[in-house]
Every structure is written in C-alpha cells, then in structure tokens.
C-alpha cells in the first residue's frame, strides 16, 4: 500500500512527522522504519445453527432453498429460525422456495472484504426467492455492476457437485436470467 501522507526521515533512520524528536540510537539506522502494521482481530466460535437452520443448510447441500411457513400469516421465512417473527409461533411446514428470485436491494462494493470476496467492483444484493417473504443475501455476478437493478430476475449458481455442502457457500453467486423484471410494488416489505 502507498503512504497516504508525506513522511520525513530523521538522520538516525527513525521516521516521523517533523515535530517528533528521538534520541540517537546509533545502530537503529539500518532498520526499515515501521509505518504500518497488520493487527487482525478474530473471534472464534463454535456455531450451532439450531434445528430449523440445520434443515435449511442440509437443503443447500441438495441445491434446495428450504423456507418454513408461518402458521398464521402463511409467510415463508428463509433462512428459517424455527419460529415466525410475526406471531411468535413455531413454523411447522417446510416449503421449498426459488431457486429463482428477484433483487430487492443491492449495493456496489468497491472495497473487497474477506478471503472469498470477488474482484471489485462487484454487487452485493438481497434476493427474494420466489415464494419467500424475506430476502437472502448474495453476490450478483456475470453482469456489469452498473447494469444491476432492483426487480432484476436472478438464479443461483450452485457449487460443483463435489463442493456442495450444508453451507451458504453452496450458492456461489447469483446471475441474471432473461425474464421480465418484478415490479417494485411486489417487492415492498420483502427486503
């Protein structure tokens, strides 16, 4: 990375902004001055998703997007948490949604984050799978980032069969399909 400001150097090799003085340290002059450090911070968890998310993740390993239905409103939640957030009752019926869906919101990412981030700029989006009441998070590729729009129809690109696993990473990304856009009013309340 390039320096974002002018750095002056003291005769003894310590780098500094001009106003700081340092003692003569003699043999320190051959050392590359420290200007930037990597200080990663990590938290390590044992993650147990629970029963309903486990059912959902096992579905992804079979290229299925499985939601669960609210017994009162009929809304299908994905990923399911085992209960309806609207009425607080357990979801009982498992419903396959998608795999096609519509983009409900998106943003263009210019600074990639994490080891699996695609080359920038790319599009992160919320995708509403057909039949679901809420959107899932994903990456939209195979289209220039400035052509992505709300309502655009997309489908998941699954991992190779050998790489399918009970993980969100079984959906490698989403890509556009040649279908008419979903009108915005049908997406209202489903982000």
């Amino acid at each position: 990375m390039s320096d974002d400001r002018t750095i002056s150097r003291l005769p003894d090799g310590l780098w500094t902004q001009p106003e700081v003085s340092a003692p003569d340290l003699g043999d320190i002059g051959n050392i590359e001055p420290v200007q930037r450090i990597r200080v990663p911070a990590a938290m390590t968890y044992d993650y147990t998703p629970g029963e309903a998310p486990t059912r959902f993740l096992m579905g992804l390993a079979e290229k299925k997007i499985l939601g669960e239905k609210c017994p009162v409103t009929g809304d299908v939640y994905v990923p399911p948490r085992g209960m309806s957030p609207a009425v607080g009752l357990p979801t009982s019926e498992q419903v396959e949604v998608g795999p096609k869906g519509s983009i409900t919101s998106f943003c263009v990412v210019h600074i990639g984050f994490g080891v699996n981030a695609p080359p920038t700029p790319f599009v992160s989006a919320l995708v509403l799978p057909d039949g679901a009441a809420v959107s899932v998070y994903g990456t939209v590729l195979e289209i220039p980032h400035d052509q992505v729009r709300i309502g655009m129809r997309v489908e998941p690109v699954w991992a190779d069969d050998a790489d399918l696993a009970p993980s969100f990473e079984s959906i490698r990304h989403w890509r556009p399909i040649d279908e008419p856009d979903t009108p915005a009013e049908l997406l209202k309340g489903h982000m």
Partner: protein, 148 residues
C-alpha cells in the same frame, strides 16, 4: 444437528503514526523508547498526547530493557493468542527510566515466584518484526528460568 467452527476476523491494517512507529522501530533494534510528558515524566509505551493536558508530545527518550513489577496477576488457564502458551503472570512493568508501566506477560514457574517490586528483564523474540510481540515476554532477573 449441524455445528461448525466460525471465525469472525477483522483484517485491520493500521498506520502507526510517528510516535508508535518510532517505538516499534526501536523494538526491532532491541531498544525501548518512551516519550516525555508535559510534566517531565517519561511515558512508556509512548503516547501521542499528554495524558493530563492533551498536548501533542514530541520528545522521545530511550528507557531500559529491565524494570520492576508494579502489579501483577497470575494466569492459570491460558487462552489462545497470548504471549505464552503456559501459565504465566500478567504484569504492569515499569522499565528503568520510565515513570509509567506497560502490560505484558512475565514467564515464571508459578505465582510464588512473582512479587510486586521484583526485577524483570525483556526476553526478546527470536524474530524481530517491529511489533509489540518483539518483546516475547519478561523474565525475572533473579528468576527460575520460567515455567517451561
């Protein structure tokens, strides 16, 4: 039911600024720098602004690589990512020439070997990288070689 390790990591990249940069550069030469505060006291590790007045500080001074334990506690169960992978003391160490203390690990055979006021010295890392970890830990000057 599924269960899996989940690591949430933030890959921070930090510019050090002139004061911390000089401190870390010094560590690579096995030298320790503090900074003189507005009241003349030497703060080590150095800070960029005076703890009392907030004024920017500019005069870096070298302090010793030995010092004394000001306060400490014993770490019996060691978590990942600590300076030592065996039970050790965590201590506030005031280096000779400094008026404030730094927090670091002290290698000792057990809590009975550690006391406030005990003399300690820096044990340098095998590979110096310009990070605080260049100070691998402190060890007791009249010590027992640590808890190896």
């Amino acid at each position: 039911m599924l269960s899996a390790p989940l690591v949430i990591e933030y890959p921070f990249n930090r510019t050090t600024g002139p004061v911390i940069g000089a401190f870390l550069t010094g560590l690579q030469a096995k030298r320790v720098l503090g900074i003189r505060g507005a009241d003349g006291r030497v703060v080590c590790p150095p800070v960029e602004y005076d703890p009392q007045t907030g004024a920017p500080l500019t005069e870096m001074v070298e302090v010793g690589t030995e010092g004394e334990i000001v306060s400490w506690s014993w770490v019996e169960r060691v978590r990942d990512g600590q300076p030592l992978d065996r039970p050790h003391a965590l201590a506030l160490v005031r280096l000779d020439g400094a008026d404030t203390a730094m927090l670091h690990a002290v290698d000792a055979s057990g809590p009975d070997a550690v006391r406030t006021g005990a003399r300690v010295r820096i044990r340098w890392a095998d590979e110096l990288q310009g990070l605080i970890g260049d100070i691998a830990c402190f060890e007791l000057v009249d010590g027992d070689g640590g808890g190896a």
